[in-house]
């Protein structure tokens, strides 16, 4: 009885410490975003904004944050859909079909995942320019898809391998075509890993900065991280708008993760973790 109480107390204390360590920089950012410009760099700093002001939030939306947000939503969601569609098909083939190149592709996945993206920026820029895809959302979607497909395929195909084949056999015998079986049986059964890998893709596409800033120029198609980066102006850093925009960019992705995190674990349990 007493031991349980002690254990509980320790648990609470550890939880609080971890929470503080983990969230401190972010809460600091939140606090900064609510301070008026002339108080942000005040010394000593106010821990709690006094008084809190929403000016920076208004100003970033006036300065086109809505459009950045829209672009990010469009690019990330389409990336997720394309990655899932192509990734699921390939993963299914690797898990359930036999063909000559299979081994090579499976090995290739691992090698591809070890190519440092930073090294591809310059040739990719030239390539996109030649394909007339520079400065387009399509270009970003295609690149993100390319970068996230290997991991997605790897996760999903490993997961599918853990699903008994008899479900698909049953549906085949019941009169469904391969395509229908994939959609109506395999896909719903693989939902946890589909969600988990979508979260990986979403995180990448939502937060990517380096690729977007290199490949896109136009204001109209700028994504959120690039927009945020622009607040690191050259005449001074605009901490207020910067942190406010950062907070805006954090909210949707954190909500999505909180809602879906249990799939994140179970999706990896079936497949990836077992290799």
């Amino acid at each position: 009885m007493r031991r349980a109480t002690v254990q509980k107390m320790v648990n609470v204390i550890v939880s609080v410490i971890v929470t503080v360590i983990v969230l401190f920089p972010i809460l600091w950012g939140l606090s900064t975003s609510l301070k008026s410009t002339d108080r942000i760099l005040k010394v000593p700093p106010d821990v709690v904004p006094n008084p809190p002001v929403l000016d920076h939030y208004y100003s970033i939306f006036e300065r086109g944050l809505g459009r950045y947000l829209f672009n990010t939503v469009v690019v990330s969601s389409i990336t997720v859909l394309v990655v899932l569609l192509l990734g699921f098909m390939a993963a299914y083939a690797l898990a359930r079909m036999e063909f000559r190149a299979k081994r090579a592709i499976t090995t290739g996945l691992l090698i591809i995942m070890s190519i440092p993206l930073a090294s591809l920026l310059v040739p990719t820029f030239t390539l996109l320019a030649n394909l007339n895809l520079l400065d387009t959302r399509t270009g970003l979607v295609l690149l993100y898809t390319t970068y996230e497909l290997p991991l997605t395929i790897w996760l999903i195909s490993n997961y599918i391998k853990t699903i008994p084949e008899s479900f698909e056999h049953a549906a085949l015998i019941d009169g469904y075509s391969r395509g229908a079986v994939m959609r109506k049986v395999t896909l719903p059964l693989a939902m946890p890993v589909v969600i988990a890998s979508s979260l990986f893709t979403l995180t990448f596409a939502w937060n990517d900065f380096i690729v977007a800033v290199t490949m896109n120029a136009s204001e109209g198609i700028k994504t959120l991280p690039v927009g945020i980066y622009n607040f690191l102006g050259i005449f001074s850093r605009e901490w207020g708008p910067l942190t406010a925009a950062a907070m805006i960019s954090i909210i949707p992705i954190v909500i999505i993760f909180v809602v879906f995190q249990r799939y994140f674990v179970s999706g990896l349990t079936g497949g990836g973790a077992k290799g």
């Binding site: 007339n132 120029a217 204001e219």
Partner: protein, 425 residues
């Protein structure tokens, strides 16, 4: 099965392709890359918007399209875009003009603006900014707003301990002033010595001073590992070793130091004159009574130390299909009307003599600009055309770090800085 496959694939392709509709350049549309976003509300950005609106009103049928860029990667992207043959008509640059010219991405403005220049020459200030933009007699860029890294200081703090700006005339006075401030419990000198986003420092200024005002010799050759190089570098490192400058300086970028100054944690900071306006608007203590701008110190009282002049300037893409329209707009940006916008609305150093004396330009930021303008006119040294100098400051900072933290001798550290700089040319 096959149909299902083909259909979904087609849907995906259609969905992604429809996203990519971007405005294709057509006649009458002039595209421009700049770090300013005319939709924003800062002075320079409003000024840009006003300039564009005025120009478009005078030239119906011409459409100026601005694509704001991240300034740090803008030049490189422009060159890459140039080699992919889809660059904008006008590109802004500051210290990277050499890259633009050497890569052939921008073209001479002589065919378009020679007459305009002749007409306006008398009114234009900062001749050496034009010299800096002229390669083999060809004008490659039109300077818009010049600036220089000068010394910002707190008049109020100086007054408290009985210092005046004259104390900053020599390096000895400079060091003594910092010591005096520190002893009085006031914040001292903020010096950014990170390799990231480097700018002029004590060492580079002292070196230029001892080296006839130039960082590089003719032909863009660096030779820092000399007695004067060591003298300049040691001047700076000694100030850190003796505690006049915090060791954190080696981790500070220009922005970090500036943030601290805004936050009231410094009494002296080297900074680009272009930030004077931002200082007044984002701190609760700064005004013309509390802030001063002075030139750099030197080793003797007979002259001030040199400051590295630079200017944001606009160049014309060599592959532009609208060279006439684009160059006409470039000239307009530097016209009296444009210059007035930059100076008054944009709060930049005045570009033309006719604008410099406008009654609007008094008090507040304009007072600071006035001081900066004088300092720049007196001490400004623009880099030799075609020399890539901006990263050289970073090489010097690295040399200082190596001496302080890695125990490398000043000569060796400077030799590395020399090699790095020369490799880049």
């Amino acid at each position: 099965m096959g149909r299902y496959y083909a259909r979904t694939l087609a849907t995906v392709l259609a969905a992604t392709c429809s996203l990519g509709a971007i405005a294709q350049a057509n006649a009458g549309t002039v595209t421009m890359w700049t770090f300013l976003n005319p939709e924003n509300t800062s002075g320079r950005e409003v000024a840009l918007r006003n300039v564009i609106e005025k120009y478009e009103a005078n030239h119906p049928g011409v459409d100026i399209v601005v694509e704001p860029q991240d300034w740090a990667t803008m030049t490189e992207k422009f060159v890459l875009s140039h080699s992919a043959n889809r660059a904008p008509d006008i590109i802004w640059s500051a210290q990277d003009l050499g890259l633009l010219v050497n890569s052939g991405a921008v073209t001479s403005l002589n065919p378009y603006l020679a007459d305009w220049l002749a007409e306006n020459d008398d009114d234009l200030l900062f001749d050496n900014a034009y010299d800096n933009a002229t390669y083999d007699g060809e004008l490659m860029a039109v300077p818009l707003f010049p600036y220089s890294v000068l010394v910002f200081y707190r008049k109020d703090h100086f007054a408290q301990v009985g210092l005046t700006e004259d104390d900053l005339d020599t390096w000895d006075g400079f060091a003594a002033a910092v010591k005096k401030l520190q002893d009085a419990g006031l914040p001292g000198l903020l010096l950014p010595l990170s390799e990231d986003k480097p700018s002029s420092t004590i060492a580079t200024t002292a070196y230029m001073d001892l080296n006839d005002g130039h960082l590089l010799a003719e032909g863009c050759v660096a030779d820092f590992a000399t007695d004067i190089g060591v003298q300049a570098l040691t001047l700076q490192t000694d100030m850190i070793k003796s505690g006049l400058i915090s060791q954190e300086a080696v981790a500070r970028t220009n922005d970090d130091a500036w943030d601290l100054f805004i936050g009231g944690r410094g009494s002296i900071v080297p900074q680009t004159s272009a930030r004077a306006g931002a200082l007044l608007s984002s701190s609760d203590w700064a005004n013309e009574e509390t802030v001063g701008i002075v030139p750099w110190p030197s080793f003797t009282t007979d002259h001030h130390g040199p400051s590295v002049g630079a200017s944001w300037q606009v160049s014309l893409w060599s592959g532009s299909q609208n060279k006439e329209e684009a160059s006409d707009f470039m000239a307009f940006m530097a016209s009296e009307e444009g210059a007035k916008e930059w100076a008054v609305t944009g709060e930049q150093l005045p570009l033309r003599a006719s604008v410099a004396n406008l009654p609007e330009l008094s008090g507040g930021v304009f007072a600071l600009n006035q001081a900066a303008s004088e300092a720049l006119n007196e001490t400004g040294r623009f880099p030799r055309p075609g020399c890539a100098e901006s990263s050289t400051m970073g090489d010097w900072n690295r040399a200082a770090q190596d001496v302080l933290l890695n125990g490398i001798s000043p000569v060796d550290a400077l030799q590395e800085a020399t090699d790095s700089t020369n490799r880049r040319q």
